[in-house]
């Protein structure tokens, strides 16, 4: 298949403005600026482009909801890629930052914004330095800043560094963080499209989403939809990690099955081992078992299979992985990253982690399993943002599919699946 997003990323100097200009860079911006903004929105709507950050919400619709009567308006680009198992935006930003800049500018043109803030996670400082150097060149060449392409239209791009907070990836928390506060979610409604950054209409879009815009403008909505199943058009980046031979970012259409991604693209399970479980969309989504992978990796099909495509971070685990341990590992992440705003999530995450730790070290009791269920179900759906649901998921999904493993831990008073890559226990890790 023809690569759209990652076509050039492996070529030397693909991140430079020179390279980008030689490969039709900023032509889509020119074309978009020749169209009335509303036509750009209609084109994106017709393309069916769905947000690549995790929720899969149609981008064109999001832009349509942006209140055009209020000035100023903003684009906030979500480059806080923090979902465990996800590393696709990283590649785009480091190897092709001008694609993102062009996407931001097209977005700004469409909704009538004069600034796009790119909120990049603090850990990607090495990426940010590349982007800043390239952004300066784009300013110097008149693609960004005052009088874009000599049109009289002004549009700035600002790169804003976060400082280590998973929650900043939630759109309203990202806005709070941009405003110089703790990254904690707001009560919705109002949605950012009505009242977002500085209480002005704001479209929050993921990096990969914005990077799809130039090709949609150049090649049209029909081409884009034709690339994938219905309502799941366009190219998609998949991140495969864990116990596979060739972990990495793979571009494919959403017709590609999870099985193909894991076994063909990523080379299958490491030698001498068998597949045990797959988390298909970043750590926040339910597990799929080996016999559930013959489904297209699209938003809708993965959902039908009982999970979610999410951020397309596919984490693969082989038979050496203890599922109680895996849930405990993820729960450590969630208890650490909970922003603390909603009680069920803040308190519940810690309780879940303590219970899982107790079972994993061999001190569990059978009644703890009901307690796990109860605590998780009291977080689910009871928080302001989707973090709560994400936090409850590792426990609920492992209990559902691997209850026997939990029971074995409790019966035998020890971890029953000790991978040779696990800690030896020489350091008090937590």
């Amino acid at each position: 298949m023809e690569l759209i997003l990652t076509q050039y990323v492996k070529e030397p100097n693909s991140f430079t403005l020179d390279f980008y200009e030689k490969h039709d860079g900023y032509q889509a911006l020119k074309k978009a600026m020749g169209m009335p903004p509303n036509d750009v929105i209609e084109t994106v709507k017709a393309s069916g482009l769905r947000g690549r950050g995790g929720a899969g919400f149609p981008t064109g619709l999001k832009w349509q909801f942006v209140d055009k009567k209020i000035e100023p308006r903003y684009i906030a680009c979500n480059a806080d890629e923090s979902e465990p198992g996800t590393f696709k935006d990283h590649v785009l930003m480091e190897r092709n930052p001008h694609l993102l800049f062009e996407g931001c500018l097209i977005g700004c043109w469409a909704i009538g914004a004069k600034v796009a803030y790119i909120y990049i996670r603090g850990e990607f400082y090495h990426v940010q330095k590349v982007m800043e150097a390239e952004l300066a060149k784009a300013y110097a060449q008149g693609y960004v800043g005052k009088n874009v392409l000599g049109s009289g239209w002004d549009c700035d791009i600002v790169i804003h560094r976060g400082a280590g907070a998973y929650e900043a990836g939630e759109e309203t928390a990202l806005i709070e963080s941009l405003e110089g506060k703790r990254a904690q979610p707001r009560i919705k409604p109002p949605f950012p499209a009505v009242s977002g950054l500085y209480n002005k209409p704001t479209a929050v879009n993921n990096v990969e989403t914005l990077c799809n815009l130039p090709s949609i403008i150049m090649r049209g909505a029909e081409w884009f939809t034709s690339l994938g199943p219905e309502k799941n058009g366009g190219p998609k980046l998949y991140c495969v990690s864990g116990h596979v031979k060739n972990p990495g970012v793979y571009e494919a259409t959403m017709r590609t099955t999870l099985k193909e991604l894991i076994f063909d693209r990523a080379g299958g399970i490491r030698a001498g081992h068998q597949l045990k479980a797959v988390i298909p969309g970043g750590s926040s989504v339910p597990i799929l078992l080996p016999d559930q992978l013959d489904v297209p990796a699209s938003f809708d099909d993965v959902q039908k299979a009982g999970s979610m495509l999410g951020s397309a971070g596919i984490i693969v685990m082989d038979e050496t992985t203890c599922m109680v341990w895996a849930a405990q590992n993820l729960m450590h992440f969630y208890k650490h990253e909970s922003c603390g705003k909603c009680t069920p999530c803040r308190e519940g995450g810690d309780w879940l982690w303590k219970l899982l730790s107790k079972i994993e070290r061999g001190d569990g009791e059978m009644r703890d399993l009901d307690l796990l269920n109860s605590v998780a179900n009291n977080i689910l759906g009871k928080t302001l943002c989707a973090f709560g649901d994400a936090e409850a998921t590792p426990v609920l999904t492992t209990l559902k599919h691997f209850r026997a493993e939990y029971e074995a831990h409790i019966r035998e008073g020890r971890c029953t699946v000790m991978g040779d890559w696990r800690a030896r226990g020489t350091v008090a890790v937590h």
Partner: protein, 204 residues
């Protein structure tokens, strides 16, 4: 009459357990950093200087190695916000140091994909080599060892970040001892860097 049940109010009951940051030495930004911060502030609406608070905290940390109460007060004055607002933010984000750290802060990713690739062993090996536990700094003051949550480079697991900035990919427990020795000798150039960065970053 109170409807509250009798509570065992003891010594210190009413004291907040909020830990304030160390006062530290009197702090002002160097002229270069002040100018840099002013430039960053200009990227946000003029009445929204608070947006630059993360940048200000990074600059302060860069200047004196970690954050102190006096640095936060200075930032508050600089941005025209309250010291409480600065502290609120500084204590939320994990990339700010609230106490002195070693010259190299080793931030080992511990989340699932890195753990599946052996990051727990990497932590153990680093701990053994340095003779310190998590959150501690070694006797020479050179290294601090901490765990980090997902760094977003799961294809090159396990990943170690150093000083919030430098990357080391595909760490192994076996290579940790040499890595520490190399870091001692030649600094961050001992690290692998990010595999995506194959060419040197060209100047503006």
């Amino acid at each position: 009459m109170s409807f509250h049940p009798l509570m065992p109010y003891g010594e210190g009951w009413h004291k907040s357990d909020r830990v304030l940051l160390e006062e530290g030495q009197a702090f002002t930004f160097t002229p270069e950093r002040a100018a840099q911060l002013e430039d960053i502030c200009s990227k946000y609406p003029s009445e929204r200087r608070k947006s630059a608070v993360l940048a200000a905290l990074y600059l302060a940390q860069d200047q004196q190695g970690y954050l102190t109460a006096s640095a936060m007060r200075h930032i508050a004055e600089f941005l025209g916000i309250t010291a409480a607002e600065v502290e609120d933010v500084a204590t939320y984000y994990v990339m700010f140091y609230k106490a002195p750290v070693g010259k190299y802060v080793l931030q080992v990713c511990r989340t699932l994909s890195c753990a599946l690739a052996g990051s727990e062993r990497v932590v153990e090996a680093l701990s053994e080599k340095l003779g310190i536990g998590l959150g501690q700094t070694d006797a020479s003051g050179m290294f601090t060892l901490v765990e980090f949550e997902c760094l977003g480079a799961c294809d090159r697991a396990p990943v170690v970040m150093v000083n919030n900035e430098h990357w080391h990919e595909r760490a192994t427990a076996e290579s940790c001892s040499k890595l520490i020795d190399d870091l001692r000798q030649r600094g961050p150039s001992a690290l692998s860097g990010c595999h995506l960065r194959v060419e040197p970053v060209s100047a503006k």
